[in-house]
Symmetry: C2
Subunit: 510 residues, 2 copies
Amino acid sequence: VIKPWKVLQEMITSAWQYACSEPRNVIFSAKVGLALVIITVLMFMNIPNKAIDRYAIWAIMTVILVFEFSIGATLNKGFNRGLGTLFAGGLAMGVAELSLMTEKLELAFIISSIFIAGFCSTFMKLHPKMKHYEYGFRVFLLTYCIVLVSGYKKEEFLKTAVNRFLLISMGAAVGLLVNICIYPIWAGEDLHRSVVKNFYSVANALEGCVDEYLQYCEYDRIPSKVPGNQGLLYEGCMSAVRSTSKEATLEGFALWEPPHGRYKKFNYPWKNYVKLSGALRHCAFMVMALRGCIDSEIQAPPERRQVFSSELQRVSSEGAKVLHELAEKAKKMEKLKDGDGILLEVCKAAEELQKKIDSKSYLLINSDSWVIKKPEDLDNAGNHYDIRENENKILRIKSFSETCLNLRSVSLSKSSKEISTKKIVECLPGEGILSESTSNEQILWSSYGSPLTFEDVHNDEVSKTYESASALSLATFTSLLIEFVFRLQNLVEIFQELSEVACFKETLLT
Amino acid sequence: VIKPWKVLQEMITSAWQYACSEPRNVIFSAKVGLALVIITVLMFMNIPNKAIDRYAIWAIMTVILVFEFSIGATLNKGFNRGLGTLFAGGLAMGVAELSLMTEKLELAFIISSIFIAGFCSTFMKLHPKMKHYEYGFRVFLLTYCIVLVSGYKKEEFLKTAVNRFLLISMGAAVGLLVNICIYPIWAGEDLHRSVVKNFYSVANALEGCVDEYLQYCEYDRIPSKVPGNQGLLYEGCMSAVRSTSKEATLEGFALWEPPHGRYKKFNYPWKNYVKLSGALRHCAFMVMALRGCIDSEIQAPPERRQVFSSELQRVSSEGAKVLHELAEKAKKMEKLKDGDGILLEVCKAAEELQKKIDSKSYLLINSDSWVIKKPEDLDNAGNHYDIRENENKILRIKSFSETCLNLRSVSLSKSSKEISTKKIVECLPGEGILSESTSNEQILWSSYGSPLTFEDVHNDEVSKTYESASALSLATFTSLLIEFVFRLQNLVEIFQELSEVACFKETLLT
């Protein structure tokens, strides 16, 4: 006896939680209930009228079918339903008149006309361009069949059609009034919110992504081969990317909505919100590509990542700041204070990152196999200065940069975060280190290569060559991040366009 | 008089073309017409039966509403409708019995029960988990209201409910029979086709993308800032990425379908098709990232791209070949001939690309500002061999590699495709060139930097630093391509899993 009670209790708890998390759904449900009650009462009041009694279901059906979540969707569906009914009623009455003239062939005429109507409306409905009117075609077909079938033999075509139309109008009126007058839910508002939410998602995903990339110091990587378990932040970004069709739908509904609340302009530029969202998506693609570097089979060694740590983090935090500010402004519908000025900091940060890359680009490549002479030739070179010694120098400087790497990799393993780049640079002139490293560079180098990523590649031959790709992975990450900053500029432009067209407020000076 | 005729003619032409391009739509439309004719005839035959006459619309409505494009969708919707009607009918009859007991309060009881039903079913319907049963809830609400309203005062609750159920069953039966027996359109088949199509799209996008990247020799780049005009190939890839929800829907319907045609197993592993498609999407993300390099604001100079031309092209064509073969096998439902062997060529090609990158990695970075001493210090260095001269050497080798670049960039402008890498290497020992280039390297270098990409950046300071990012762009492109090859391996694994679970045929030896 206790168990079902417990189940019920749990169900009520979860329903309550769901209701608390989505209060709009509760209100909407109550609105549906109210509209139904109103239409039922209206029907009951007219019970004595036989005709209405018979067709009462039309009114109820209309309320149930037309009552959509947002006002735009309700208006759109109501329009479809109205137009479909009107067209079908008119056509059916015309066909009915014609069928009376055919006398003996009446039934055949009606049936073939139903076939033709069914064929044509379905065929048109399936056309991609007619997607938005799908419901209208359905209603058309339904009304057409019903008028013909119920009117047959009783010559009640007109009565059926008129009654149906009147009752549908009644249902639509009740539905619309209740939906619009009581706590309306606007598709435009939802679109606006969705765009703002996407800004926050992308900003968080960006920060999370760069942080994760830098925190990745351990070798316990879980290769997430199949898309899926990629964390909440990534999900937010993915949902921003996937929101295309959702936003297109919302825009479609928003265009049906009359001016309301904060959107007082006629022909409100909902299009520009979608455009802004498109530009944001363009940025989100970059974040996804960054995320791809984390999921990649080819990974840069953590030590090298740390070298660029502070610059990467600064770009990501400044980039996220820009996104957050744009989101804030979009939410409050305010213009930007000083135009492009918003980008100043992030551009500076990107510049610094770029400078760091330039100064440390030897970390991003594997100089191990530059097309210069091989170490075996070293012995042939003398100490005197001649043309052939040039090769020797090349080799030395090459091994030299590798020595830097090795030095750093050792110092990092001791105190992982403190990278004194200057120290390494100061080490450069030490000839003693150079000669030492020349002998054991091959061993050091190979141990330095990324040992973490290639368990998956069973083919040893292949893996050996692929190892060197790992260094380039860091280059990929940084240049994707810089590309992201570039795309931010475009995003700001489009935001400014929107803020002009949609007449956003000027920001008040604080 | 002629004009409307012409418009009509054009309409017919376009309708005919549309019909030819989508013959399935024509057949489906005819099926809808046929089903409607059958149900109409059945209704007409029963006209004398008053009850049926009155509720005839239910049967017609059921046919129209349940008749979906694919069998799975029809069965799913029919099930929803049936269950919704059954539940609502039962509940409504129970409530009606109760209402009779309340005597005076009958009306109030009925109306409040309608409110509660409307509230609860809408509230549940909006829950994300109930998305698939949305239609069922709608039908439930509709039936509930109709049974109560039409039965009220006439104590005909049972009659209404039973009639409604019988007529709906009749409509559903006609709809199902026509839809399944005549040229059935299976969602599973569509899912299979969609997956195969995505393989071809991604393969073509990959090839197109790499080709476009390499053909990009002119400076007339149109910056496609806003996502959009990115070509048909990209669209194919994007549609593969976007197909998530479409495929999830098709899978949902396919699970409802009985074994048929080539899919004879019970519990056919449609899940694995979706999984395969997910792995393909993982590859497609890489293609999109490659595509992102083309749309990027930061572009690598065309001359440098040409250096890796043949290797890049080979990887792309081998990768596309793998995708094509997998598509072919998936289409024919055959197992792979020799397991992982399919990857051999593409791995080799990637290996070669990697080798080339290793040997030419100086092309991928801008060594202009390595943290080594500045050129001004050059004069201080003597010709004799001491410790300080080491810096000098560093500087020389640096200017040296740049000389290579400059040489090549000149030779490329003469005969753009013939890059004799050996020649450049042979040039290396020439001390004379070295000393010349040391003096004018700065000028050459800056002219060599990508002049094409920074019109957009109005801030000169920023653009100057960002120039050096362009060289890294090529590194990004190549490492993304190599990552693509890695992801291919995972794709092949998942294909093999599918071919096992779905009992694909063994490939016949030819």
